[in-house]
Symmetry: C2
Subunit: 382 residues, 2 copies
């Protein structure tokens, strides 16, 4: 049996004001080609199908098109909701769609949904865990000690009886760490509050493969079979660079268990950072007419700032998302920099700095955990 | 073959600030009971499934529940979008759902979708016409003379080839009139611009039955087989009164054609207007503890206005939506009345009055039609 693992489509997303819808359609078309070529049996989509709880109508139309294409290809489709999705909205008509082999997680209701898929070589059990917060789980396990996300996920898994004869696959959308070690993050994920939303990978020990969504960089967490598919497109400049290619994991399941290879994706427009003096960047000898349509962050190093730099840059690189200056003046301009850094910080980090500035001592461990919990509660209610 | 005709569910609607979700669930449960009792084969939902293009999550969950219940009962389900629905959003996954017998109109794309349903006694063709405006149709028939809604609907129907051997049913969501004669309207429908959005019933001549949605009062338009199902609940005080019962048409189709009977619905809470002095209305002898939970407009006729009248009234009638006074003072208070009347008028009527006030003559026919068209264009863009 072959399954393709996708996550973090963020359909309908705008990046720096640019709609990604055309890029998304193209990359999903590539996914369809991979399905044709590799003759897969199903597709796992591990959350953040949409970028917003209420996606734009064109986003709904695109995901409709994609599901229809998958369905034409006789793929079984498995979807869990991510933190960006509305678990109620995305599971609309799931009771009817499962008859057609489209399995969508319902809002968390105290237990994992299990779907059994069999072929002559393997019996696969796929478990759907929508994005959960501790409060979702506490509601169903009032006796359990649930202090954080690890406890929450652990409680759900411990209360699930797995069939050791089957190949057990879990789909989840959480921030998973391996013994506290941080995975690779990017700016396009939501900033997390301290480390309270981390889920320790050891929770997932009973599963043969864990298909994760949430982090946008494709990566394994600890063992090879706990894996983030990553977003199919680059959604922030922190992911820029030729080296940071996007890919999809392809699982092959047979009597030996789960084998995983990754297949790379090629966007119609890459997302890049270029830097240098404006005349240099605009010169044909330098850009050689390659990748001019890419989404660009252009860092200009000119000391004399040119007139209408964005207009000039866009005359060659039409999809320039923004330009910045890196020169003597910009280096002096610390306040601007600070503002940008602040925007990247989590509420917890900001509070931590504020506390230090006010009290001249750092918070105690008890205070830290207290503040983290409060911020967590605020975020849940937001 | 038996088909139940529903329309104007307006799921998620609030009436005077009161959520109708519980009443809607209950009335849809009654619809399920009718299906069980009458052993129907399918359900037609003629638009305005939701009250808003983006319904609240609990509305999505309720419609999901209803579809699932219908599906469990092996009903074929036919849905066209109304003017309150988003035709893109509501048709999500329609390509997959039709495999399960759930047929949802896609945004208008130049032709009617046809679904063929057969049983030993009859061959039925069901045509889905989502709510359309002239501009939607013009885009596909640039040569056709489309001046108004009648032309628009007529053009679509004239370009559809019907099988005279089949029983042909059309589902549509428009404001249909019979030779210009106005049907019964209620305040919960959108106010229309002049008469430009009217569709002449004669367009529908080729069909054996026309399942309409849009107007909330159940009624036939001209012949018995062009029919508004009406909303399953009363959504405005203009529909108050024991006489104005809600119902669903049940179609029986056999070799003799289409027969239609209506089955009445009983809401858990009626919507009523009561009037009198406050002490009278609060007296147990008068209300006899009946229908106290109904949604109420209470018109108080006391000359001395009591302290906290809403609080007192709600102590007996907890679901009082609003109270009004009808006494000497309120009669003097013309400006309030005028404001209310203005709110009920269409933009066209307001302009007509403004024109007269400014020019002291009424608009000519040419001017009228010019203004109607402009307002129509404005509304389409809104």
């Amino acid at each position: 049996m072959k399954l393709l693992h996708l996550a973090d489509l963020h359909i309908g997303k705008k990046v720096n004001g640019f709609s990604m819808i055309e890029d998304q359609q193209e990359i999903l078309r590539q996914v369809c080609n991979i399905i044709d070529e590799k003759k897969t049996d199903g597709v796992l989509i591990a959350g953040d199908v949409y970028d917003k709880a209420i996606p734009p109508a064109e986003g709904v139309a695109l995901f409709d098109w994609f599901l229809t294409e998958l369905s034409k290809r006789k793929q079984k489709i498995f979807i869990v909701s991510g933190n960006h999705d509305s678990s109620e909205r995305i599971s609309f008509a799931s009771g009817i769609m499962k008859e057609e082999g489209v399995y969508i997680s319902k809002p968390f209701h105290g237990e994992l949904e299990r779907i059994v898929v069999e072929d002559p070589e393997s019996k696969v059990h796929i478990y759907l865990l929508p994005f959960i917060r501790p409060a979702h789980v506490k509601a169903y396990f009032p006796e359990a000690e649930i202090e954080d996300y690890t406890d929450a996920v652990d409680t759900v898994i411990k209360n699930t009886s797995l069939d050791p004869q089957a190949v057990n696959i879990l789909m989840a959308h959480q921030f998973v760490v391996n013994r506290g070690q941080l995975p690779m993050q990017s700016d396009s994920e939501s900033i997390s509050v301290g480390s309270l939303d981390h889920v320790e990978a050891s929770c997932f020990a009973p599963f043969d493969y864990v298909a994760l969504g949430h982090l946008h960089h494709p990566q394994k967490v600890g063992r090879k079979s706990i894996r983030y598919a990553g977003s199919p497109l680059k959604y922030s400049f922190s992911e820029a660079g030729k080296g940071k290619k996007k890919s999809v994991p392809l699982l092959t399941i047979d009597e030996n268990g789960v084998d995983c290879e990754t297949i790379s994706l090629d966007p119609i427009r890459d997302l890049r950072i270029i830097r240098g003096p404006i005349d240099h960047l605009l010169s044909e000898e330098v850009h050689q007419n390659e990748g001019l349509d890419d989404y660009m962050l252009v860092v200009l190093t000119d000391e004399d700032e040119p007139v209408d730099p964005l207009g000039k840059i866009r005359s060659v690189y039409p999809n320039t998302m923004k330009i910045e200056f890196d020169n003597k003046r910009s280096k002096q301009n610390q306040s601007e920099k600070t503002a940008k850094e602040v925007a990247k910080k989590s509420s917890y980090e900001l509070f931590e700095e504020f506390y230090f500035a006010m009290n001249n001592v750092a918070m105690s461990e008890e205070e830290k955990s207290f503040v983290q919990k409060i911020l967590e509660e605020v975020e849940e209610k937001a």
